[in-house]
Protein backbone atom coordinates (compact mmCIF):
# COMPACT_ATOMS: atom_id res chain seq x y z
CA UNK A 1 0.00 0.00 0.00
CA UNK A 2 2.90 2.34 0.71
CA UNK A 3 4.66 1.64 -2.53
CA UNK A 4 2.70 3.92 -4.89
CA UNK A 5 3.44 6.88 -2.64
CA UNK A 6 7.11 6.17 -2.29
CA UNK A 7 8.07 6.27 -5.95
CA UNK A 8 6.72 9.70 -6.95
CA UNK A 9 7.65 11.11 -3.57
CA UNK A 10 11.27 10.00 -3.91
CA UNK A 11 11.41 11.33 -7.47
CA UNK A 12 10.11 14.73 -6.33
CA UNK A 13 12.47 14.90 -3.36
CA UNK A 14 15.41 14.06 -5.60
CA UNK A 15 14.33 16.75 -8.06
CA UNK A 16 14.07 19.37 -5.35
CA UNK A 17 17.47 18.49 -3.91
CA UNK A 18 19.01 18.95 -7.35
CA UNK A 19 17.18 22.25 -7.71
CA UNK A 20 18.30 23.39 -4.26
CA UNK A 21 21.91 22.86 -5.30
CA UNK A 22 21.28 24.41 -8.72
CA UNK A 23 24.55 26.32 -8.58
CA UNK A 24 26.54 23.16 -8.02
CA UNK A 25 24.98 21.18 -10.86
CA UNK A 26 25.11 23.99 -13.38
CA UNK A 27 28.37 25.10 -14.95
CA UNK A 28 27.65 28.83 -15.32
CA UNK A 29 25.94 31.85 -13.79
CA UNK A 30 22.29 32.09 -14.91
CA UNK A 31 22.75 35.65 -16.15
CA UNK A 32 26.13 35.13 -17.83
CA UNK A 33 25.85 35.84 -21.54
CA UNK A 34 27.96 34.50 -24.37
CA UNK A 35 26.82 37.08 -26.86
CA UNK A 36 28.78 35.51 -29.73
CA UNK A 37 26.90 32.24 -29.29
CA UNK A 38 23.13 32.86 -29.44
CA UNK A 39 21.01 29.73 -29.94
CA UNK A 40 24.03 27.43 -29.84
CA UNK A 41 22.91 23.80 -29.94
CA UNK A 42 23.67 21.45 -27.04
CA UNK A 43 27.37 20.72 -26.71
CA UNK A 44 28.28 17.15 -27.55
CA UNK A 45 30.51 15.12 -25.26
CA UNK A 46 33.20 13.16 -27.06
CA UNK A 47 35.37 10.27 -26.00
CA UNK A 48 37.47 10.42 -29.17
CA UNK A 49 39.39 13.64 -29.75
CA UNK A 50 40.03 15.28 -33.12
CA UNK A 51 42.83 12.80 -33.93
CA UNK A 52 40.58 9.83 -33.22
CA UNK A 53 42.30 8.87 -29.98
CA UNK A 54 40.20 7.46 -27.16
CA UNK A 55 40.04 9.20 -23.76
CA UNK A 56 38.13 7.99 -20.76
CA UNK A 57 37.59 11.61 -19.75
CA UNK A 58 35.00 13.19 -22.07
CA UNK A 59 35.99 16.28 -23.99
CA UNK A 60 34.15 18.92 -25.99
CA UNK A 61 34.90 20.86 -29.16
CA UNK A 62 34.28 24.56 -29.40
CA UNK A 63 31.28 25.74 -31.39
CA UNK A 64 32.30 27.79 -34.40
CA UNK A 65 29.62 30.02 -35.83
CA UNK A 66 28.96 29.51 -39.53
CA UNK A 67 29.90 32.81 -41.18
CA UNK A 68 27.29 32.29 -43.90
CA UNK A 69 24.15 31.80 -41.82
CA UNK A 70 22.90 33.12 -38.49
CA UNK A 71 22.69 30.74 -35.53
CA UNK A 72 24.29 27.86 -37.40
CA UNK A 73 27.23 26.23 -35.70
CA UNK A 74 29.82 23.62 -36.52
CA UNK A 75 32.34 21.89 -34.29
CA UNK A 76 35.88 23.22 -34.35
CA UNK A 77 37.65 19.87 -34.33
CA UNK A 78 41.21 21.18 -33.96
CA UNK A 79 41.30 20.77 -30.21
CA UNK A 80 39.19 18.75 -27.81
CA UNK A 81 38.89 20.44 -24.40
CA UNK A 82 38.66 18.03 -21.47
CA UNK A 83 35.67 18.29 -19.20
CA UNK A 84 36.84 18.78 -15.59
CA UNK A 85 34.84 17.75 -12.59
CA UNK A 86 34.41 19.63 -9.28
CA UNK A 87 35.87 22.81 -10.69
CA UNK A 88 35.83 26.34 -9.35
CA UNK A 89 33.69 28.75 -11.36
CA UNK A 90 31.11 31.52 -11.02
CA UNK A 91 30.06 32.25 -7.46
CA UNK A 92 26.58 31.21 -6.38
CA UNK A 93 24.56 30.84 -3.20
CA UNK A 94 22.91 27.75 -1.80
CA UNK A 95 19.41 28.54 -0.50
CA UNK A 96 20.45 32.18 -0.55
CA UNK A 97 22.75 31.68 2.44
CA UNK A 98 26.00 29.88 1.77
CA UNK A 99 28.35 31.10 -0.90
CA UNK A 100 30.23 28.64 -3.02
CA UNK A 101 32.24 28.44 -6.20
CA UNK A 102 32.29 24.70 -6.59
CA UNK A 103 30.65 23.32 -9.73
CA UNK A 104 30.06 19.70 -10.62
CA UNK A 105 31.66 20.10 -14.02
CA UNK A 106 33.11 22.69 -16.29
CA UNK A 107 35.52 23.16 -19.11
CA UNK A 108 38.44 25.52 -19.43
CA UNK A 109 37.98 28.74 -21.40
CA UNK A 110 37.76 29.45 -24.30
CA UNK A 111 35.74 26.27 -24.74
CA UNK A 112 32.18 26.20 -23.41
CA UNK A 113 29.90 23.40 -22.31
CA UNK A 114 26.20 23.98 -22.90
CA UNK A 115 24.52 20.62 -22.32
CA UNK A 116 21.11 22.01 -23.29
CA UNK A 117 22.23 24.69 -25.70
CA UNK A 118 21.90 28.45 -25.25
CA UNK A 119 19.11 30.96 -25.62
CA UNK A 120 18.98 34.12 -27.72
CA UNK A 121 21.51 35.91 -25.51
CA UNK A 122 23.88 32.95 -25.41
CA UNK A 123 23.00 32.00 -21.84
CA UNK A 124 23.39 28.37 -20.80
CA UNK A 125 19.96 26.69 -20.85
CA UNK A 126 20.87 24.01 -18.30
CA UNK A 127 21.95 26.66 -15.80
CA UNK A 128 18.83 28.71 -16.38
CA UNK A 129 16.66 25.62 -16.18
CA UNK A 130 18.04 24.73 -12.75
CA UNK A 131 17.93 28.27 -11.38
CA UNK A 132 14.52 28.83 -12.98
CA UNK A 133 13.24 25.75 -11.18
CA UNK A 134 14.13 27.47 -7.92
CA UNK A 135 11.36 29.89 -8.79
CA UNK A 136 8.93 27.83 -10.83
CA UNK A 137 8.96 24.61 -8.81
CA UNK A 138 9.11 26.37 -5.44
CA UNK A 139 6.26 28.77 -6.20
CA UNK A 140 3.82 25.84 -6.36
CA UNK A 141 4.38 24.31 -2.91
CA UNK A 142 4.65 27.68 -1.15
CA UNK A 143 1.51 29.07 -2.76
CA UNK A 144 -0.35 25.82 -2.08
CA UNK A 145 0.73 25.93 1.58
CA UNK A 146 -0.57 29.50 1.82
CA UNK A 147 -3.88 28.70 0.15
CA UNK A 148 -4.38 25.62 2.31
CA UNK A 149 -3.49 27.49 5.50
CA UNK A 150 -6.03 30.21 4.63
CA UNK A 151 -8.61 27.71 3.51
CA UNK A 152 -8.23 25.43 6.52
CA UNK A 153 -8.44 28.24 9.04
CA UNK A 154 -11.47 29.82 7.45
CA UNK A 155 -13.16 26.53 6.64
CA UNK A 156 -12.63 25.18 10.17
CA UNK A 157 -13.98 28.36 11.75
CA UNK A 158 -16.97 28.37 9.43
CA UNK A 159 -17.73 24.71 9.96
CA UNK A 160 -17.16 24.74 13.68
CA UNK A 161 -18.88 27.95 14.73
CA UNK A 162 -21.36 28.13 11.88
CA UNK A 163 -24.12 30.75 11.92
CA UNK A 164 -23.52 34.13 10.32
CA UNK A 165 -19.79 33.59 9.91
CA UNK A 166 -20.44 30.38 7.99
CA UNK A 167 -22.94 32.05 5.72
CA UNK A 168 -20.79 35.10 5.07
CA UNK A 169 -17.73 32.98 4.34
CA UNK A 170 -19.46 30.54 2.04
CA UNK A 171 -21.01 33.49 0.22
CA UNK A 172 -17.55 34.94 -0.28
CA UNK A 173 -16.24 31.56 -1.44
CA UNK A 174 -19.07 31.40 -3.94
CA UNK A 175 -18.01 34.81 -5.25
CA UNK A 176 -14.42 33.67 -5.67
CA UNK A 177 -15.44 30.46 -7.41
CA UNK A 178 -17.81 32.34 -9.69
CA UNK A 179 -14.89 33.85 -11.61
CA UNK A 180 -12.75 31.76 -13.95
CA UNK A 181 -9.51 31.46 -11.98
CA UNK A 182 -7.14 32.76 -14.63
CA UNK A 183 -9.31 35.82 -15.20
CA UNK A 184 -9.35 36.39 -11.45
CA UNK A 185 -5.59 36.00 -11.23
CA UNK A 186 -4.98 38.40 -14.09
CA UNK A 187 -7.44 40.93 -12.68
CA UNK A 188 -5.72 40.77 -9.30
CA UNK A 189 -2.32 41.06 -10.94
CA UNK A 190 -3.58 44.19 -12.70
CA UNK A 191 -3.77 46.14 -9.47
CA UNK A 192 -0.03 45.82 -8.96
CA UNK A 193 2.62 47.72 -10.85
CA UNK A 194 3.41 46.09 -14.18
CA UNK A 195 7.15 45.89 -13.79
CA UNK A 196 8.52 44.37 -10.62
CA UNK A 197 11.91 42.98 -9.75
CA UNK A 198 12.06 39.23 -9.49
CA UNK A 199 11.95 38.92 -5.73
CA UNK A 200 8.85 41.09 -5.47
CA UNK A 201 7.17 39.52 -8.48
CA UNK A 202 7.72 36.11 -6.96
CA UNK A 203 6.27 37.18 -3.60
CA UNK A 204 3.34 38.92 -5.27
CA UNK A 205 2.53 35.86 -7.34
CA UNK A 206 2.68 33.51 -4.37
CA UNK A 207 0.54 35.77 -2.22
CA UNK A 208 -2.00 36.22 -5.02
CA UNK A 209 -2.26 32.49 -5.61
CA UNK A 210 -2.53 31.87 -1.88
CA UNK A 211 -5.10 34.61 -1.36
CA UNK A 212 -7.25 33.62 -4.34
CA UNK A 213 -7.06 29.88 -3.83
CA UNK A 214 -8.61 29.59 -0.38
CA UNK A 215 -12.20 29.13 -1.48
CA UNK A 216 -12.15 25.48 -2.62
CA UNK A 217 -10.12 24.04 0.32
CA UNK A 218 -12.21 26.14 2.75
CA UNK A 219 -15.39 24.56 1.41
CA UNK A 220 -14.01 21.04 1.59
CA UNK A 221 -12.57 21.53 5.09
CA UNK A 222 -15.86 23.02 6.24
CA UNK A 223 -17.69 19.92 5.06
CA UNK A 224 -15.35 17.59 6.93
CA UNK A 225 -15.47 19.72 10.08
CA UNK A 226 -19.26 19.86 9.96
CA UNK A 227 -19.53 16.09 10.01
CA UNK A 228 -16.59 15.54 12.39
CA UNK A 229 -17.91 17.83 15.12
CA UNK A 230 -21.09 15.76 15.39
CA UNK A 231 -19.24 12.51 16.13
CA UNK A 232 -19.87 10.86 19.49
CA UNK A 233 -16.27 11.04 20.67
CA UNK A 234 -16.26 14.78 20.08
CA UNK A 235 -19.45 15.08 22.12
CA UNK A 236 -17.87 12.92 24.81
CA UNK A 237 -14.75 15.06 24.91
CA UNK A 238 -16.89 18.17 25.08
CA UNK A 239 -18.87 16.78 27.98
CA UNK A 240 -15.58 16.22 29.80
CA UNK A 241 -15.05 19.95 29.52
CA UNK A 242 -12.67 20.15 26.55
CA UNK A 243 -12.23 23.66 25.16
CA UNK A 244 -13.06 24.52 21.57
CA UNK A 245 -9.41 24.97 20.74
CA UNK A 246 -8.55 21.54 22.12
CA UNK A 247 -11.45 19.88 20.32
CA UNK A 248 -10.52 21.47 17.02
CA UNK A 249 -6.84 20.64 17.29
CA UNK A 250 -7.14 17.19 18.80
CA UNK A 251 -10.31 15.68 17.35
CA UNK A 252 -11.67 17.65 14.43
CA UNK A 253 -8.78 18.95 12.33
CA UNK A 254 -6.87 15.64 12.19
CA UNK A 255 -9.85 14.37 10.20
CA UNK A 256 -8.95 16.75 7.40
CA UNK A 257 -5.41 15.42 6.99
CA UNK A 258 -6.12 13.16 4.03
CA UNK A 259 -8.16 15.82 2.32
CA UNK A 260 -5.43 18.41 2.77
CA UNK A 261 -2.69 16.12 1.49
CA UNK A 262 -4.69 15.28 -1.61
CA UNK A 263 -5.58 18.92 -2.15
CA UNK A 264 -1.91 19.88 -1.78
CA UNK A 265 -0.75 17.44 -4.41
CA UNK A 266 -3.46 18.71 -6.75
CA UNK A 267 -2.88 22.41 -6.05
CA UNK A 268 0.91 22.33 -6.36
CA UNK A 269 1.05 21.43 -10.07
CA UNK A 270 -1.82 23.85 -10.66
CA UNK A 271 0.18 26.69 -9.10
CA UNK A 272 3.42 25.70 -10.79
CA UNK A 273 1.51 26.03 -14.02
CA UNK A 274 0.08 29.37 -12.90
CA UNK A 275 3.58 30.76 -12.31
CA UNK A 276 4.77 29.43 -15.67
CA UNK A 277 1.72 30.94 -17.38
CA UNK A 278 2.11 34.34 -15.73
CA UNK A 279 5.82 34.54 -16.47
CA UNK A 280 5.17 33.35 -20.01
CA UNK A 281 2.67 36.16 -20.50
CA UNK A 282 5.16 38.67 -19.10
CA UNK A 283 3.27 39.33 -15.87
CA UNK A 284 5.49 37.33 -13.55
CA UNK A 285 9.23 37.01 -13.10
CA UNK A 286 11.26 39.32 -15.30
CA UNK A 287 14.69 39.21 -16.95
CA UNK A 288 17.54 38.70 -16.28
CA UNK A 289 16.39 36.14 -13.73
CA UNK A 290 15.25 32.76 -14.90
CA UNK A 291 11.91 31.01 -14.58
CA UNK A 292 10.52 28.23 -16.73
CA UNK A 293 7.70 30.40 -18.00
CA UNK A 294 10.12 33.14 -18.91
CA UNK A 295 12.35 30.68 -20.76
CA UNK A 296 9.32 29.48 -22.71
CA UNK A 297 8.47 33.05 -23.64
CA UNK A 298 11.34 32.77 -26.11
CA UNK A 299 9.18 30.35 -28.07
CA UNK A 300 6.86 33.18 -28.98
CA UNK A 301 9.46 34.00 -31.62
CA UNK A 302 8.68 31.91 -34.62
CA UNK A 303 12.23 30.95 -35.58
CA UNK A 304 13.09 29.90 -32.02
CA UNK A 305 10.06 27.65 -31.98
CA UNK A 306 10.78 25.97 -35.28
CA UNK A 307 14.56 25.83 -35.47
CA UNK A 308 15.82 25.35 -31.92
CA UNK A 309 14.30 22.32 -30.27
CA UNK A 310 16.23 22.80 -27.01
CA UNK A 311 14.13 25.88 -26.26
CA UNK A 312 11.23 23.47 -25.60
CA UNK A 313 12.97 21.65 -22.75
CA UNK A 314 11.30 23.55 -19.85
CA UNK A 315 7.82 22.82 -21.20
CA UNK A 316 8.61 19.16 -21.77
CA UNK A 317 10.12 18.80 -18.31
CA UNK A 318 6.87 20.04 -16.76
CA UNK A 319 5.17 16.83 -17.90
CA UNK A 320 7.10 14.36 -15.68
CA UNK A 321 6.92 16.79 -12.75
CA UNK A 322 3.13 17.01 -13.10
CA UNK A 323 2.86 13.25 -13.57
CA UNK A 324 4.75 12.73 -10.31
CA UNK A 325 2.40 15.07 -8.45
CA UNK A 326 -0.71 13.41 -9.91
CA UNK A 327 0.63 9.96 -9.06
CA UNK A 328 1.19 11.23 -5.54
CA UNK A 329 -2.35 12.60 -5.35
CA UNK A 330 -3.77 9.28 -6.56
CA UNK A 331 -1.69 7.28 -4.09
CA UNK A 332 -2.53 9.51 -1.13
CA UNK A 333 -6.20 9.43 -2.07
CA UNK A 334 -6.05 5.64 -2.10
CA UNK A 335 -4.42 5.45 1.32
CA UNK A 336 -6.32 8.13 3.10
CA UNK A 337 -9.73 7.20 1.78
CA UNK A 338 -11.44 5.83 4.87
CA UNK A 339 -13.62 3.49 2.85
CA UNK A 340 -10.53 1.64 1.71
CA UNK A 341 -8.82 1.73 5.07
CA UNK A 342 -11.62 0.82 7.41
CA UNK A 343 -14.78 -0.65 5.88
CA UNK A 344 -17.36 0.68 8.35
Amino acid sequence: MRKPVLLPLLALILLHVVVLFAGFFSPYDPAAQYRDMPFAPPTRMHFFDGAGEFHLRPCVFRWRADPGAADVYGEDRRRCYSVRFLVSGAQYRIAGLWRSRLHLFGVEEPATVFLMGTDEYGRDQLTRLLFGAQISLVAGPVAAALALAFGTTLGALAGYYGRWFDEALMGAAELFLALPWLYLLLAARAFLPLHLDTRRAFLVLICLLGALGWARPARLVRGVVLSAKEREYVLAARSFGATDLYLLGRHVLPQTRGLLLTQASLLIPHYILAEVTMSFLGLGVSEPDASWGLMLAGLKQYHAMVAHWWMWIPAVLLVPVFLAYYALAQAIGGIEDPRLKRPV
Binding site: L179, L182, A187, P193, L194, W312, V319
Partner: protein, 282 residues
Protein backbone atom coordinates in the same frame (compact mmCIF):
# COMPACT_ATOMS: atom_id res chain seq x y z
CA UNK B 1 -17.85 44.50 -7.45
CA UNK B 2 -14.78 42.53 -6.58
CA UNK B 3 -13.19 43.38 -9.89
CA UNK B 4 -13.93 47.08 -9.47
CA UNK B 5 -12.45 47.09 -5.98
CA UNK B 6 -9.29 45.41 -7.24
CA UNK B 7 -8.77 47.92 -9.95
CA UNK B 8 -9.40 50.84 -7.62
CA UNK B 9 -6.31 49.80 -5.71
CA UNK B 10 -4.23 49.96 -8.84
CA UNK B 11 -1.51 52.56 -8.72
CA UNK B 12 -1.81 54.75 -11.75
CA UNK B 13 -4.07 54.61 -14.73
CA UNK B 14 -3.79 54.87 -18.46
CA UNK B 15 -2.95 58.57 -18.27
CA UNK B 16 0.09 57.96 -16.08
CA UNK B 17 1.69 56.29 -19.03
CA UNK B 18 0.79 59.31 -21.13
CA UNK B 19 2.51 61.59 -18.66
CA UNK B 20 5.83 60.03 -19.59
CA UNK B 21 5.29 61.30 -23.08
CA UNK B 22 6.81 64.81 -23.25
CA UNK B 23 4.59 65.81 -26.16
CA UNK B 24 1.48 65.67 -23.97
CA UNK B 25 1.11 68.55 -21.53
CA UNK B 26 -0.12 68.06 -17.97
CA UNK B 27 -3.00 70.40 -18.83
CA UNK B 28 -4.21 67.98 -21.49
CA UNK B 29 -3.98 65.06 -19.10
CA UNK B 30 -6.08 66.64 -16.40
CA UNK B 31 -8.67 67.63 -18.99
CA UNK B 32 -8.76 64.07 -20.25
CA UNK B 33 -9.10 62.72 -16.73
CA UNK B 34 -11.98 65.04 -16.07
CA UNK B 35 -13.71 63.94 -19.21
CA UNK B 36 -13.39 60.27 -18.27
CA UNK B 37 -14.51 60.93 -14.71
CA UNK B 38 -11.32 59.60 -13.19
CA UNK B 39 -10.88 62.57 -10.84
CA UNK B 40 -13.91 61.89 -8.64
CA UNK B 41 -13.68 60.20 -5.25
CA UNK B 42 -13.77 56.41 -5.18
CA UNK B 43 -17.23 55.68 -3.69
CA UNK B 44 -18.81 58.25 -5.96
CA UNK B 45 -17.17 56.64 -8.97
CA UNK B 46 -18.35 53.20 -7.90
CA UNK B 47 -21.96 54.30 -7.62
CA UNK B 48 -21.72 56.12 -10.94
CA UNK B 49 -20.12 53.09 -12.56
CA UNK B 50 -22.66 50.62 -11.18
CA UNK B 51 -25.52 52.81 -12.39
CA UNK B 52 -24.07 53.11 -15.86
CA UNK B 53 -23.33 49.39 -16.13
CA UNK B 54 -26.95 48.58 -15.41
CA UNK B 55 -28.03 51.00 -18.09
CA UNK B 56 -25.70 49.38 -20.62
CA UNK B 57 -22.86 51.91 -20.56
CA UNK B 58 -19.67 50.15 -19.53
CA UNK B 59 -17.41 53.14 -19.68
CA UNK B 60 -14.84 54.02 -22.27
CA UNK B 61 -11.82 52.11 -23.47
CA UNK B 62 -9.08 54.69 -23.32
CA UNK B 63 -6.70 52.58 -25.37
CA UNK B 64 -9.13 51.98 -28.25
CA UNK B 65 -10.88 55.30 -27.72
CA UNK B 66 -14.33 53.76 -28.16
CA UNK B 67 -17.12 52.74 -25.82
CA UNK B 68 -16.08 49.66 -23.86
CA UNK B 69 -19.33 47.71 -24.07
CA UNK B 70 -19.47 47.01 -27.83
CA UNK B 71 -15.76 46.19 -27.81
CA UNK B 72 -16.19 43.68 -24.99
CA UNK B 73 -19.34 42.16 -26.43
CA UNK B 74 -17.73 41.68 -29.80
CA UNK B 75 -14.71 39.96 -28.24
CA UNK B 76 -16.95 37.90 -26.00
CA UNK B 77 -18.72 36.63 -29.09
CA UNK B 78 -15.40 35.36 -30.44
CA UNK B 79 -14.57 33.70 -27.14
CA UNK B 80 -17.98 32.10 -27.05
CA UNK B 81 -17.48 30.75 -30.57
CA UNK B 82 -14.10 29.30 -29.62
CA UNK B 83 -15.28 27.87 -26.30
CA UNK B 84 -18.48 26.43 -27.70
CA UNK B 85 -16.84 24.68 -30.63
CA UNK B 86 -14.04 23.32 -28.41
CA UNK B 87 -16.59 22.11 -25.87
CA UNK B 88 -18.71 20.51 -28.59
CA UNK B 89 -15.83 18.53 -30.05
CA UNK B 90 -14.49 17.63 -26.62
CA UNK B 91 -17.87 16.16 -25.67
CA UNK B 92 -18.22 14.46 -29.04
CA UNK B 93 -14.93 12.64 -28.48
CA UNK B 94 -15.11 12.19 -24.72
CA UNK B 95 -18.57 10.64 -24.60
CA UNK B 96 -17.90 7.55 -26.76
CA UNK B 97 -14.40 7.21 -25.33
CA UNK B 98 -15.63 7.35 -21.74
CA UNK B 99 -18.41 4.85 -22.37
CA UNK B 100 -16.05 2.57 -24.27
CA UNK B 101 -13.59 2.66 -21.38
CA UNK B 102 -16.23 2.01 -18.73
CA UNK B 103 -17.98 -0.82 -20.53
CA UNK B 104 -15.11 -3.10 -21.42
CA UNK B 105 -12.52 -5.21 -19.75
CA UNK B 106 -9.90 -3.76 -17.47
CA UNK B 107 -7.29 -3.05 -20.12
CA UNK B 108 -9.60 -0.52 -21.77
CA UNK B 109 -10.00 1.41 -18.54
CA UNK B 110 -6.28 1.31 -17.89
CA UNK B 111 -5.32 2.45 -21.37
CA UNK B 112 -7.81 5.31 -21.29
CA UNK B 113 -6.61 6.31 -17.81
CA UNK B 114 -3.04 6.38 -19.08
CA UNK B 115 -4.12 8.57 -21.96
CA UNK B 116 -6.06 11.01 -19.80
CA UNK B 117 -3.38 11.25 -17.12
CA UNK B 118 -0.75 11.99 -19.75
CA UNK B 119 -2.96 14.61 -21.35
CA UNK B 120 -3.70 16.22 -17.99
CA UNK B 121 0.01 16.44 -17.24
CA UNK B 122 0.84 18.22 -20.49
CA UNK B 123 0.67 21.95 -19.74
CA UNK B 124 -1.62 24.00 -21.97
CA UNK B 125 1.30 26.15 -23.06
CA UNK B 126 2.96 23.08 -24.52
CA UNK B 127 -0.21 21.91 -26.27
CA UNK B 128 -0.76 25.26 -27.95
CA UNK B 129 2.85 25.70 -28.99
CA UNK B 130 3.09 22.15 -30.34
CA UNK B 131 -0.06 22.62 -32.38
CA UNK B 132 1.29 25.88 -33.76
CA UNK B 133 4.51 24.11 -34.66
CA UNK B 134 2.61 21.33 -36.41
CA UNK B 135 0.42 23.82 -38.24
CA UNK B 136 3.41 25.78 -39.46
CA UNK B 137 5.36 22.66 -40.45
CA UNK B 138 2.60 21.15 -42.56
CA UNK B 139 1.01 24.44 -43.62
CA UNK B 140 -2.33 22.67 -43.46
CA UNK B 141 -4.21 25.41 -41.68
CA UNK B 142 -3.54 29.13 -41.54
CA UNK B 143 -1.93 30.37 -38.33
CA UNK B 144 -3.31 33.30 -36.42
CA UNK B 145 -6.20 35.46 -37.49
CA UNK B 146 -9.67 34.03 -37.21
CA UNK B 147 -9.03 30.39 -38.05
CA UNK B 148 -10.47 28.07 -35.43
CA UNK B 149 -8.30 25.01 -36.08
CA UNK B 150 -5.32 25.65 -33.80
CA UNK B 151 -6.97 27.40 -30.83
CA UNK B 152 -10.02 25.15 -31.02
CA UNK B 153 -8.02 21.93 -31.03
CA UNK B 154 -5.78 23.17 -28.24
CA UNK B 155 -8.72 24.06 -26.06
CA UNK B 156 -10.43 20.79 -26.90
CA UNK B 157 -7.34 18.79 -25.92
CA UNK B 158 -7.00 20.62 -22.62
CA UNK B 159 -10.62 19.85 -21.68
CA UNK B 160 -10.75 16.29 -23.03
CA UNK B 161 -9.03 14.35 -20.22
CA UNK B 162 -11.25 15.82 -17.52
CA UNK B 163 -14.38 15.00 -19.50
CA UNK B 164 -13.31 11.45 -20.28
CA UNK B 165 -12.40 10.72 -16.67
CA UNK B 166 -15.73 12.01 -15.37
CA UNK B 167 -17.82 10.24 -18.00
CA UNK B 168 -16.01 6.99 -17.39
CA UNK B 169 -16.58 7.13 -13.61
CA UNK B 170 -20.23 8.11 -14.01
CA UNK B 171 -20.99 5.28 -16.46
CA UNK B 172 -19.01 2.74 -14.46
CA UNK B 173 -20.99 3.56 -11.34
CA UNK B 174 -24.30 3.12 -13.13
CA UNK B 175 -23.22 -0.17 -14.70
CA UNK B 176 -22.91 -1.68 -11.22
CA UNK B 177 -26.57 -0.99 -10.41
CA UNK B 178 -29.11 -3.86 -10.28
CA UNK B 179 -31.38 -2.53 -13.03
CA UNK B 180 -28.54 -2.90 -15.54
CA UNK B 181 -28.07 -6.52 -14.53
CA UNK B 182 -31.82 -7.02 -14.88
CA UNK B 183 -31.85 -5.45 -18.33
CA UNK B 184 -28.91 -7.56 -19.38
CA UNK B 185 -30.68 -10.68 -18.10
CA UNK B 186 -33.70 -9.70 -20.19
CA UNK B 187 -31.50 -9.82 -23.25
CA UNK B 188 -31.19 -6.12 -24.04
CA UNK B 189 -28.47 -5.75 -26.71
CA UNK B 190 -25.17 -4.35 -25.47
CA UNK B 191 -25.14 -1.08 -27.37
CA UNK B 192 -28.78 -0.37 -26.54
CA UNK B 193 -28.04 -1.17 -22.91
CA UNK B 194 -25.27 1.39 -22.80
CA UNK B 195 -26.98 4.17 -24.70
CA UNK B 196 -30.64 3.79 -23.72
CA UNK B 197 -30.26 2.48 -20.19
CA UNK B 198 -26.91 3.48 -18.69
CA UNK B 199 -26.38 6.90 -20.26
CA UNK B 200 -29.62 8.55 -19.10
CA UNK B 201 -29.08 7.18 -15.61
CA UNK B 202 -25.59 8.69 -15.55
CA UNK B 203 -26.75 12.01 -16.96
CA UNK B 204 -26.88 13.89 -13.65
CA UNK B 205 -23.18 14.25 -12.87
CA UNK B 206 -22.46 14.80 -16.55
CA UNK B 207 -24.83 17.77 -16.77
CA UNK B 208 -23.23 19.23 -13.67
CA UNK B 209 -19.85 18.74 -15.34
CA UNK B 210 -21.14 20.59 -18.39
CA UNK B 211 -21.84 23.63 -16.22
CA UNK B 212 -18.56 23.42 -14.34
CA UNK B 213 -16.51 23.00 -17.50
CA UNK B 214 -17.40 26.52 -18.69
CA UNK B 215 -15.11 28.12 -16.12
CA UNK B 216 -12.32 25.69 -16.93
CA UNK B 217 -12.64 26.32 -20.64
CA UNK B 218 -12.68 30.09 -20.15
CA UNK B 219 -9.47 29.97 -18.10
CA UNK B 220 -7.63 27.72 -20.54
CA UNK B 221 -9.08 29.77 -23.35
CA UNK B 222 -7.49 32.94 -22.01
CA UNK B 223 -4.03 31.45 -22.38
CA UNK B 224 -4.79 29.95 -25.78
CA UNK B 225 -6.16 33.28 -27.03
CA UNK B 226 -3.16 35.18 -25.73
CA UNK B 227 -0.68 32.89 -27.47
CA UNK B 228 -2.46 32.24 -30.75
CA UNK B 229 -3.75 35.79 -31.09
CA UNK B 230 -7.44 34.87 -31.21
CA UNK B 231 -9.28 38.19 -30.76
CA UNK B 232 -11.39 37.08 -27.80
CA UNK B 233 -12.23 38.21 -24.31
CA UNK B 234 -9.10 36.73 -22.75
CA UNK B 235 -6.75 38.45 -25.11
CA UNK B 236 -8.63 41.73 -24.66
CA UNK B 237 -8.26 41.42 -20.88
CA UNK B 238 -4.57 40.60 -21.17
CA UNK B 239 -3.90 43.59 -23.39
CA UNK B 240 -6.06 45.88 -21.28
CA UNK B 241 -3.99 44.98 -18.21
CA UNK B 242 -0.78 45.78 -20.00
CA UNK B 243 -2.26 49.12 -21.08
CA UNK B 244 -4.00 49.90 -17.76
CA UNK B 245 -7.32 50.23 -19.51
CA UNK B 246 -9.60 50.31 -16.45
CA UNK B 247 -13.11 49.90 -17.78
CA UNK B 248 -12.16 47.18 -20.21
CA UNK B 249 -10.50 45.08 -17.48
CA UNK B 250 -13.47 45.44 -15.18
CA UNK B 251 -15.94 44.75 -17.95
CA UNK B 252 -14.09 41.71 -19.26
CA UNK B 253 -13.75 40.12 -15.83
CA UNK B 254 -17.38 40.87 -15.08
CA UNK B 255 -18.53 39.34 -18.34
CA UNK B 256 -16.44 36.21 -17.75
CA UNK B 257 -18.22 35.80 -14.43
CA UNK B 258 -21.55 36.31 -16.14
CA UNK B 259 -20.69 33.64 -18.73
CA UNK B 260 -19.70 31.24 -15.96
CA UNK B 261 -22.88 31.85 -14.00
CA UNK B 262 -24.95 31.53 -17.17
CA UNK B 263 -23.24 28.19 -17.77
CA UNK B 264 -24.16 26.81 -14.37
CA UNK B 265 -27.67 28.21 -14.71
CA UNK B 266 -28.14 26.37 -18.00
CA UNK B 267 -26.79 23.22 -16.37
CA UNK B 268 -29.28 23.60 -13.52
CA UNK B 269 -32.16 24.05 -15.94
CA UNK B 270 -31.05 21.02 -17.93
CA UNK B 271 -30.84 19.05 -14.72
CA UNK B 272 -34.34 20.16 -13.88
CA UNK B 273 -35.56 18.99 -17.25
CA UNK B 274 -33.67 15.72 -17.19
CA UNK B 275 -34.24 14.48 -13.67
CA UNK B 276 -37.82 14.01 -12.43
CA UNK B 277 -36.55 13.60 -8.85
CA UNK B 278 -35.35 17.20 -8.81
CA UNK B 279 -38.66 18.39 -10.24
CA UNK B 280 -40.51 16.54 -7.49
CA UNK B 281 -38.46 18.20 -4.77
CA UNK B 282 -39.11 21.75 -5.77
Amino acid sequence: MLSFALFELAPGDYFDELRLNPAVSSQTISTLRQRHGLDAAMPLRYVRWLGSVLSGDWGISVAYNTAAAPLIWQRAGNTLLLTASAAFFAWAIALPLGIWAAAGRRWRGISVTLLTVTLVAVPEVLIVLLLMLLASEFRAVPLGGMHLAVPGTALMLSALPVFVAHIRTAIAEVLDLPFITAARANGVPRLRLLIRHALPAAANPLITLLGLSIGMLLSSGLLVEAIVGWPGLGRLLFEAILERDLYVVVGAVMLSAVLLIAGSLIADLLLYAADPRIREES
